[in-house]
Symmetry: C2
């Protein structure tokens, strides 16, 4: 395997999680998403629902308000910071242990010093994602477009705060795929072929 | 062919032009880069060297200065605007004529209403690009890093001015590839397989 670790960042509703899961299955390697939540909950003592919200999303979609809230008084150490540190150590440990796919949670940034990581960003047009989340999670009071915009903004804010990088900018990743145009199965094939370095067999 | 037109935006030194050329050769379709320059020169009467500089790069790497210069007095129509309009019409004409690869020149934005376009962004780390431009174009008085930063900034400014989109943001493209990590040949294979919709044969 040319790359031991595959990190997947994704827009909400783009199918990034499904792609990550399928890649892990195809390669026969570990897949970390909810498993991370469970382990962080065990290590921190917090509830899994709280970790899910806090481990990847800013509390406010507004960057200024999130930063203000998170900074509090000088040198304060918030719950969000505490969970980030646990998450960071856990991701480093898991990457050391065995080949794996890690979805979200700034894993691309946390593992930036490793040379065996393939960092991927999955995105798609609003229409594709809106249809997908309604099919997967059903209708809600808010429109799917509003739900998508809110989730993306909170992920973006969280990522910026902890990495000082901009989420979704091509140069932060090795491969960015529009799953709506390229297709979920094609995304899986492109990633697995790259990981296995199968060029000569294509 | 699933996609008739392939547009390639690229960071300077990333190998985007070579990738575009190889894709066009592999698919047996037209390739437009310098050919565009020649045709724009014919239509406008300006010299090719001037078109090369003006057709893709802002005159100043500073966005504010370029905008100021380009706006001039209200409703002014600059040489840069004039060339952009010729370029826009030419790109639309060529895309209508036959399948092709078009490198740079905001082609992704100009052809945004077509459903048969695959829009690609090629980028790479500074070290890879710096080595590449020294090998290809030799040493200059300025360091390769400075030359890269300057070219990228001027392309970014030009793109922002004429499209109001941000160059290098994943959501503006269907596929973004780090050619340094993925490899030039792999990039060519990924693109041609997608265009030919070869998934089932991979």
């Amino acid at each position: 395997m040319k790359f031991k670790i595959i990190t997947i960042s994704r827009e909400f509703g783009s199918g990034g999680r499904s792609i990550g899961k399928m890649v892990a299955e195809k390669l026969g390697i570990a897949y970390y998403d909810n498993e991370l939540v469970t382990q962080i909950a065990e290590k921190s003592g917090f509830d899994e629902t709280f970790i899910k919200e806090c481990g990847e999303y800013a509390s406010s979609p507004n960057r200024f308000l999130f930063n203000l809230n998170n900074w509090g008084t000088s040198y304060s150490y918030t719950i969000s910071d505490h969970l980030y540190v646990i998450q960071e150590n856990l991701i480093k440990e898991l990457a050391e242990k065995s080949p794996c796919v890690i979805v979200g949670r700034c894993a691309d940034y946390i593992l930036k010093d490793r040379k065996d990581c393939l960092n991927i960003f999955i995105h798609a047009d609003m229409e594709f994602r809106a249809n997908r989340i309604v099919n997967l999670y059903g209708e809600r009071e808010d429109s799917p477009e509003k739900r998508l915009a809110d989730k993306d903004k909170r992920r973006k804010t969280y990522y910026k705060y902890y990495t000082n990088h901009t989420w979704g900018v091509a140069e932060n990743y090795h491969l960015c795929l529009n799953s709506g145009v390229i297709g979920i199965d094609n995304c899986v094939d492109i990633i697995t072929d790259l990981v296995l370095d199968k060029k000569e067999n294509i």
